[in-house]
Homo-oligomer: 679 residues x 2
């Protein structure tokens, strides 16, 4: 307060703006009709709203005009390869909020905007109807209707709009036969409104900014990934696996219900500073090294590790995968082993130290001696390096690959991704990019804004009911819902979650059920189905990690959960409500270890209830509320439910129900529900 | 799902974008540093952020860069009459959120934006310090420091920055004397960072859009309005009051603590279709008519009603008001009586009917025969009418008026206000506009966005605790907080609230206390202090409304609440926490008729607690929680409290307290609180 007094008592010159800076009045600038608070919208329209083919885009906005004037509005939309806007009429929801919708019938770039205008005819009709209802004399209003009609016909004629002029002329001719007392009814009619619509007398047209929408293929929101190291797929733990060995596993993976088979890098592995078993600094001569140390004398990012096979072998595997209903996803890791060919051919793309040595990757005080990063901003790196990296992606696209898991994208410049992804998708609109960024939340979201199709998440570290609910509400109800597609991996070669290290088999079932039902995208890394979780003691890492050595997996091992995963993936395919993380609602369950939610499609033609016991040790009982209100049913209403785990059908009568979930039986339950038919 | 399958099985051409539409890569476009989610911001920067002189603007934003690069950022701000940006450094709050602040030291137009850049030196120092801490060898890093210093000095020299070059040269000379082992410490030092700052080696500078801020004078957020009809201010109910009569009331109004005296229109009143008492269609010859029927042969909007006095009398009243610490506020009602001079001189500004008669104001089926509206969009109305209306406001500004209550602004075009208000404020930055819009919520907010300084609200219709809390949270915590200043009128000539019609005296005290403490702006209309509430039966209107006849008010009437209002206004002046609706927090009170909240200044140097019993009939008791947490005190802490109503000071020990409020005593309590000093 002292400061304010000081400022008020000292004479201070106000800020004067030069008079010529003021605009002359203009009747529609700023527009008479204000269009604001448009949804969906990402980054105020700087980034794409993300959708998939077939999606109906529901557009909403506020439209304001002074007084009681009537308003008309439309959504205008178009694919990027057409200049012609399609128009969809909008209608009012409530309190100046409008909506309209259009369907994305192709993949690729779309645009939409909103147009609003003063509907002079509707205003006129609205007032006239009120006066007639109040029994007032409306002779003058009818005369005004005549004048309006005449004015519009004249305008149509002078505007060469012969179609509209003809319609209006016909209307006026017909009106001459209408008895004078009935004319007031005519002017209230839809016929009158439509006749004038034909002439397009929209005035004070206001148009919003243009908002971009990207339509991905369906797999962008619904797919089930399986990750494996091809080199570990031979029958013997000592023989290096090949693409042919992977081929043999396809029937089993298909039977488990996976549709995307993802490999860590399959390129030649550097020999300089190669890491040994368990990330040791010195490798034995027979250690295969980390596949993330990309590049050796055999080639770089567009070559294949010779021990895996040739490009021909790779394409044979790809064809076989397609025959098994699966696509391949590759790892795009932007880094080099010190013996990657580019260090010699393009030393200008890297960072060198004062003593002439190469700068290794590091995250002080950690050092990664087998890896060298690119210097994206080196003098000679733009466009050379950026083009070369793009060409790597294009090369694999040309081989038929359309899904790329990108390693650590958050340590590469945003402008690089904002350029690279559209550059690829302009040629391959069906290319998908999954961001493997485990970093601070805003950076994860920003990568999705600038183009990544899917994103790794914090799911792996969310275990309690409040943690899961809070995170999923953020993903499904807040801003990210329009641009961030969460890919729920239950484990990765880098993450052996603490929870699974001690949970035993029930914990694996719990995490699989959560991932499979909470998100349209889920993934697991080889070994999860065998409940493998042996850690480096005290660390969130696997002992004897496949990143540094060959492993052998026995998918007949006792206690595996292959049957359960197969069932979950089948339920996912059969129930469209599970094809997206959206459509999620949490419901009340009385026990804090039992999480309980519904998933539904936008049209409510597929609605599931899911309950999961988060405790891998103890059985728990919870009182739950059946969401009868979803169909506006009373608390005494009934739902027809199908228990999808054991295929039992029954009737749930009344809102309050009780369930028990046992980790030793099935720690989760999934029901398909719908209103019970009247008996 | 059926639709999706259809789309996926029919071969559909994806949308291909022409290759030339793709950008060539650019290292900083889009910017390497992403600046987003800036606050404060109104309408994405299309409208002014609203503040008052002396306010500290706290700016926040997210700033992102890839990886672990260090970032620097500053708020740049300037008044509109200077091209030179002032810079204020920003600092991190948490999780990539930054903040900085600047003070508005004048009234008028300001701008700010945010600049962020890569801080190469901090990145270097950060990594170096970590390596030293880990005991690693840093010879190469020290050599890199040498090279960095040399590179920057060379750049400073070639950039003719002799100041920086000198500093850097001096640093390098001094470094030669530093023993080699100590150099690594030097490169971690603030001295090194500052030396390089002098040379401004900020790289990848990214700048946000420019955001406008308008600084009003202090009365825009803190003032107490009293509304009266000058014509009712004579000592006799039969004699028409004059400006001289109003002058006699100034001491009493000053004593009551008001600082703004607002008159409904004081212009000549039309005689054509003049309304009689209680809005009757036919007026007697001695009926004065509604002052909102502006204009007669004596003049229009820039003339004074002859019976009130001359312009000289008006200016004499204005001078007297200033001497009594009050300013005058006029009514700006954009409408005419049918005999307003403009109907003859500018028939082209109005709407005429097919039979040659003028179109009266109406809101079908209601008609207002004594009023004619302007046709803002008539062919010849722009710029003529718009300029004429602006000139009316300029005329009154020239007479010294700086506060305008605008009648029904929501029925006039938005582009008109968006042009008029800046047009006036460019000449008179201290001019204030109060929007009297009672309409749908989004329109009320939009009027504030496009320029109105203050706004009437729904306060008059919010009576219960949940209603009040919900509305005030919307006003003080959501988007409107940055552009909408709520003016809480307890009554107006148009609104005789139902609540007051039956509440008796305690109801008037309740409403006054709520308005006085919830908003920096409150107002009452003559008669409220006398607890006048006689309605037209069943309506929210006053019987024998002053809008249509002379009234006489006896401010000695028994049961008046003049003493209480005087005290409330004094407490408002003395406590800066009451100078704004912001700084409001609702706290828990166990009774649903007792509303309980704190108000505080941003610096917490003035903190009040307020409790109001909303029931005008019964006493109620409530358990309340004292907000010890505001000062991070434990639940067992103590506050020193001063009861401002009866000037008693005491100690509140412990979080849980109990209060009783009696409508027959004082239905409200106000305490000033602060942490108790240690004994």
């Amino acid at each position: 307060m002292a400061e304010v007094k000081l400022l008020e008592t000292v004479p201070i010159e106000p800020i004067m703006i030069a008079q010529e800076a003021i605009h002359v009045p203009h009747k529609n600038d700023p527009p008479r009709l204000d269009i604001d608070h448009i949804t969906p919208l990402v980054g105020d329209g700087r980034y794409n709203v993300k959708r998939t083919i077939g999606d109906v885009v529901r557009v909403e906005c506020d439209i304001l005009i002074e007084g009681h004037e009537a308003v008309g509005a439309a959504v205008l939309w178009r694919p990027a390869d057409s200049e012609a806007w399609r128009r969809v009429p909008m209608s009012v929801i409530v309190n100046d909020r409008w909506h309209g919708e259009f369907q994305l019938n192709r993949t690729g770039q779309f645009y939409y905007c909103i147009e609003a205008w003063r509907d002079e005819v509707a205003s006129f009709q609205h007032d006239l109807a009120k006066k007639i209802a109040a029994g007032q004399k409306v002779d003058l209003e009818v005369a005004e209707g005549d004048l309006l009609l005449e004015r519009v016909e004249t305008a149509a004629k002078s505007g060469q709009d012969s179609g509209a002029a003809t319609i209006l002329h016909r209307v006026r001719q017909r009106l001459k036969t209408v008895p004078s007392a009935a004319r007031q009814q005519f002017y209230c009619s839809t016929e009158f409104h439509q006749a004038l619509q034909a002439a397009d007398i929209r005035s004070f047209v206001s148009r919003s900014n243009i908002i971009p929408v990207w339509a991905d293929r369906y797999a962008a929101r619904f797919s089930s990934w399986y990750e494996l190291f091809p080199r570990s797929q031979s029958e013997s733990p000592t023989r290096h696996g090949t693409f042919a060995d992977v081929e043999k596993r396809l029937p089993a993976l298909q039977a488990m219900g996976f549709d995307t088979l993802y490999f860590p890098p399959i390129h030649p592995i550097g020999r300089v500073n190669r890491k040994g078993k368990n990330n040791s600094l010195v490798a034995n001569s027979d250690d295969p090294g980390s596949p993330y140390a990309i590049g050796a004398e055999e080639g770089g990012h567009d070559a294949l590790h010779p021990e895996l096979g040739t490009l021909e072998d790779f394409k044979k595997l790809q064809d076989a995968a397609h025959r098994h209903g699966m696509e391949l996803a590759l790892d795009f890791a932007l880094q080099c082993a010190p013996d990657h060919p580019w260090l010699k051919s393009h030393p200008e793309w890297f960072s060198w130290r004062p003593d002439g040595t190469i700068r290794y990757a590091e995250n002080p005080p950690k050092k990664y001696e087998d890896i060298v990063n690119f210097d994206f901003y080196a003098e000679a790196a733009i466009p050379g390096l950026w083009h070369a990296l793009r060409d790597v992606v294009l090369f694999w696209c040309e081989q038929g690959i359309r899904a790329f898991r990108v390693d650590n994208p958050h340590t590469k410049p945003f402008p690089f991704w904002a350029w690279l992804i559209p550059e690829i998708q302009s040629k391959y609109p069906d290319a998908l990019f999954l961001a493997e960024a485990f970093t601070r939340p805003k950076t994860m979201y920003h990568l999705a804004e600038i183009g990544f199709s899917q994103s790794y998440t914090y799911f792996t570290w969310r275990h309690t009911k409040p943690e899961l609910e809070e995170y999923l509400v953020e993903l499904t109800e807040e801003a990210p819902r329009d641009f961030f597609r969460p890919h729920f991996f239950v484990n990765t070669p880098d993450i052996n979650p603490y929870f699974l290290q001690t949970s035993g088999r029930p914990g694996f079932l719990i995490r699989a059920a959560l991932a499979c039902t909470l998100s349209g995208l889920w993934g697991m890394y080889n070994g999860f189905e065998l409940c493998e979780a042996t850690p480096i003691p005290g660390k969130e890492e696997y002992l004897d990690s496949e990143k540094y050595q060959l492993r052998h997996w026995d998918d007949k091992a006792p206690g595996n959960i292959i049957a359960e995963i197969s069932q979950l993936n089948r339920l996912r395919r059969e129930n469209p409500a599970l094809h997206s993380h959206l459509g999620l609602r949490f419901h009340r369950a009385s026990h804090d270890q039992i999480i309980y939610y519904s998933k539904s499609t936008p049209t409510m033609d597929n609605v599931l209830l899911v309950a999961v016991n988060l405790d891998p040790i103890n059985s728990h009982v919870a009182d739950i509320e059946i969401p009868l209100w979803l169909w506006k049913l009373p608390d005494t209403g009934s739902l027809e439910a199908t228990d999808l785990i054991n295929a039992r059908r029954f009737i749930w009568a009344g809102k309050n129900q009780r369930i028990e979930l046992s980790p030793q039986g099935s720690p989760y339950a999934i029901w398909r529900i719908r209103p019970a038919r009247k008996q």
